[in-house]
């Protein structure tokens, strides 16, 4: 029997260029008896449009919430950007009657209505609140006690605190707890909660890469063997761009960047191939070797 059932909201970045996250997430969630139902229809959560039109962002997010309400299921997102936006708009429309009416006037034109009957959760939140740490720990067959890693939370699953209401943005614990459930040690490092720079790509690539470099330096300094992310954009910043940053600033990192679902999958005994670890840009063979050796 399935422990939980959600409508999975993939967002735009994951199907566009971060499929390893989706592949590994589906694998581990299925092992944890989570049932995923596909969205009947999709549009962007609205987040990228907020800077140019708050109104359009609200409508785009409300459309997705209304579609999920028709299915009677809570939304599960893999992207903190989508989670943050859907949670924020859900709260705003539930609490502000005038705004709800305004947005519903738009949705009516498309045969939709926001009623406020469901929740939107990020994967991390679903893991900790619904599935539970006990169940996750029970699914671990190969504790990764040989690994020392660092974590990077996505900004939008933490801030603004008033709207998201999940974890402590100044000292987030959830991802660390989830990482330590796999047996790996999660190290603290400087400026841990700082932005990866992804939102600045396209506006100022230089600033974006400098931000990611700064974080990678701090991560390297504490001796982390891998970086664990739960956001497709952060993953692109660190994994896809790591070699570029090394060349641009004359640095050496060699830090593989794994999606949390890949780390969890390894600890659950799922093979690296099934978790699409070969899709990572930064070579992860060294830590995979450690996982294999650790098994003996």
């Amino acid at each position: 029997m399935s422990a939980s059932k959600y409508l999975i909201f993939l967002g735009c970045a994951i199907p566009y260029r971060v499929s390893a996250y989706e592949i590994s997430a589906r694998k581990v969630l299925s092992k944890l008896d989570v049932e995923l139902v596909e969205m009947p229809e999709f549009n962007c959560c609205g987040l990228p449009i907020d800077p140019v039109s708050h109104e359009m962002m609200l409508i785009l997010a409300a459309r997705n919430l209304a579609l999920a309400e028709q299915k009677g299921l809570n939304i599960l997102t893999l992207c903190p950007g989508c989670a943050g936006t859907l949670k924020k708009v859900n709260k705003m429309l539930k609490e502000d009657k005038a705004l709800r009416e305004e947005i519903n006037n738009h949705l009516k034109e498309a045969g939709l209505e926001f009623k406020g009957t469901i929740d939107a959760k990020h994967l991390m939140q679903a893991l900790i609140e619904d599935i539970g740490l006990e169940k996750i720990k029970n699914a671990i067959v190969k504790p990764l006690t040989m690994l020392k890693v660092a974590e990077h939370n996505g900004c939008h699953i933490l801030r603004p605190k008033e709207f998201i209401g999940f974890d402590d943005p100044e000292d987030p614990k959830t991802l660390k707890t989830l990482i330590e459930a796999t047996g790996a040690k999660c190290l603290d490092y400087m400026d841990e909660t700082e932005c990866c720079g992804a939102p600045s790509v396209g506006v100022s690539d230089k600033i974006a890469l400098e931000l990611a470099r700064d974080k990678l330096n701090h991560i390297k300094n504490v001796g982390a063997e891998a970086l664990i992310t739960i956001c497709p954009f952060c993953h692109i910043m660190y994994d896809t761009n790591e070699l570029r940053i090394e060349r641009m600033f004359n640095e050496t990192y060699g830090i593989p960047v794994l999606h949390y679902t890949q780390l969890l999958g390894l600890a659950m005994g799922i093979s690296p191939e099934e978790l699409a670890i070969n899709e990572l840009r930064v070579d992860a063979s060294k830590i995979l070797q450690q996982v294999i050796v650790g098994e003996k």
Binding site: L10, C12, A13, P15, Y16, S19, E22, I23, R26, E38, M39, P40, E41, F42, N43, C44, P48, I49, D50, P51, V52, S53, H54, E55, M56, I59, L60, R63, L99, H106, L107, E109, A110, G111, L112, C155, H156, R159, P160, K161, P169, E170, D191, T193, E194, C195, G197, A198, P199, S200, G202, V203, S204, K206, I207, E210, L211, D214, A276
Partner: protein
Amino acid sequence: MSETEKKPIKTSEIDPKFKYEISKIHGGEKLLRCFQCGTCTSDCPVARFSETYRPRQIIRMTQLGLRDRVLNSDTLWLCAACFTCTDRCPQDVEVASVIRVLRNLAAERGCVPQVFKEQCSSILESGYAYKIPELRMKKRESLGLPELPKGNPENIRKSLKGVRFLKFVEKQGEEK
């Protein structure tokens, strides 16, 4: 767009109504509370690596009524929307939201980086913010992933009727 922050202020540039206008827009309500402590700038990750982006300065310029300087500035678009400033502001100004309000107004006058226009067009065409290549769609099948849910552009457009930014995007399309 130009970088004009450091030029002396002329009284003719000042529009005293600007701050009230912003205060009436959702997200900009608490603009007048700012007492210029600078927590936003000192905690801003972008400000650390940018020589021009200073959230405190943008807030002050807005309070002073420097409408054109603020709205025509490239600097406005550097905010990464990480919301650190919003969470840490002792006056609860919601700095990132004020900046979003300003960006929305700048966008309506056409001062907007290309990347946002592209994402907007892509959403209107497919529902997705990026144009996902056919090859990617096909690859999903071989990877054992379910088919991607489709967007419904016609239905999306129906619900967006009357959105101000869209009028600008459409007008630009006609001019091309």
